[in-house]
Amino acid sequence: MNTLKYQSQAVAKPYFIFAMILFVGQILFGLIMGLQYVVGDFLGGIIPFNVARMVHTNLLIVWLLFGFMGAAYYLVPEEAETELYSPKLAIILFWVFAAAGVLTILGYLLVPYSTLADITFNELWPTMGREFLEQPTITKFGIVIVCLGFLFNLGMTILKGRKTAINMVMMTGLIGLAVFFLFAFYNPTNLALDKYFWWFVVHLWVEGVWELIMGAILAYVLIKVTGVDREVIEKWLYVIIAMALISGILGTGHHFYWLMTPEYWQWVGSIFSALEPLPFFAMVLYAFNMVNRRRREHPNKAATLWALGTAVMAFLGAGVWGFLHTLSFVNYYTHGSQITAAHGHMAFYGAYAMIVMTIISYAMPKLRGIGEANCNKAQVVEMWGFWLMTVAMVFITLFLTGAGILQVWLQRLPESGEALSFMATQDKLAIFYWLREISGVIFLLGLISYLTSFFITEKKAQA
């Protein structure tokens, strides 16, 4: 059965599938690291912590990018009411990006990082070895080429079709993503400049343009599952992203408190980043409001659950847990502690992993020719996945927060001489790390349940 409005939307399917495969890898490496936190020599000589972490974070970034790209290929043609400019280019770029991603991850795992730097000629244009930007320079060029082709393809599609607010916001977000990534190529010798502009990639992605992408995807799914008037949803979308950028751009200042920067960033950063929860709170109100005002009963209950869930979890993870440590006088003590880790985990899961699973949940039944929604049994298993992963992530965040508070108490608050050393403090946090690891295993069970739901078909359900 063909259930796609525009046949070229089908190119989204390999992007979504590959995103899910990488997601599994991300979680497995997360569990390895979680264990290394308490059993320090686990896989010591084979997968050192720094390698596992690089794989964990880079897989996250890459699977989210695959998810965003799949989302764009799926929703842009339908919004523009025209076929994608070039489905062939989309498929070619899929293979280029997938190959570059796999080779890079294999490079991390199979050779020492310094060897990887040598064989990829890092010394010609050194960009490696900075957090989240560990990819060899040549991979970074590959990412730029893939992004350019991707933006060209979407741009040409939008140019010949309808220019909806959702498409324009999505496109702005994706162009911003590509533009700010260019700062990854700037790696001055002076660490002060290096660190300052590193945030132009990291912060302006996750607390800037990615929020536009999230907002556009959420608006698209809400229109589809609630049937609420587009005018209303798009008005909310503009309000939310306006708040996101107005607070988030100067909110970058919360990363500049403890760099070689003037003190005014402590004021600017504190004030504007204290406003950063607002767009996420608005998103919660909006998602629930739209679902309550729904004009149709969409059979895909799971997609609706994801849409509501991503709004709530983004608010908690990015909004509340961000606010916890964003004021400069708090951050002085919490900067670079387990509290940062707690916030990072829930924010990424809530805002970005969940929005990708929202669009996958909505689009996959159509991409697979199943229809508007999966069968009831598949949806139930998918919702089990939703709840297990989400509850597990809440507990991961709570345990890391506990660890962080104790860490600050023992290591940061006392005077020099009285404070416990880093390693001695870590020993005291072991119980929290064990509980976090157990929560991580539950998360994996949730992920398995979620993935299983893709293999449950109507026939089996009736049998």
């Binding site: 912590f49 010798t189 300052y196 309000v239 306006a242 670079g336």
Partner: protein, 148 residues
């Protein structure tokens, strides 16, 4: 949301607001970059410091450690390791670092393992120079104490 507040108005706030605040952000960035020399000790970036930074990156040190609070939270902060382990004495710190790097992995059962990166004496010296330079940065009085 009120009917009198239209989508067009929301869109204008979005475009106007984000452009306005982005311009302020750029202006503050220009000012910050201009002020940076007062705090970043750039006149002391020697060739050894530069080589040390490359070694720092090439061995992915940030994958376990933090530097000025940024990085991974698996191993100690290294912005002030010169003060913590060298007591502000360059000779003592270099001797410590050389011994430390060559002693890895410590192979203490259950303890977090630092790999051996097989750096030669010259490279360890460069790394030490980089860390010494870093310890003298003015990061607005961070970290709160010697433990980082």
């Amino acid at each position: 949301m009120s009917e009198s507040f239209t989508k067009g108005m929301a869109r204008n706030i979005y475009y106007g607001g984000s452009i306005f605040f982005f311009l302020i952000f750029l202006a503050l960035t220009f000012h910050t970059v201009k002020e940076m020399p007062k705090r970043d000790n750039r006149e002391n970036i020697t060739e050894a410091v530069e080589r040390g930074k490359h070694l720092w990156e090439k061995n992915n040190c940030i994958g376990c450690h933090t530097l000025i609070g940024e990085g991974a939270y698996f191993a100690p902060e290294l912005m002030n390791v010169y003060d913590r382990r060298g007591g502000g004495n360059e000779v003592a710190f270099k001797a410590f670092l050389n011994g430390w790097m060559n002693a890895q992995p410590l192979n203490i059962p259950g303890r977090r393992q630092m790999p051996n990166f097989h750096l030669n004496d010259q490279e360890i010296d460069d790394l030490a120079e980089f860390l010494i330079w870093t310890s003298k940065l003015d990061a607005n009085n961070w970290p709160p104490n010697i433990e980082g």
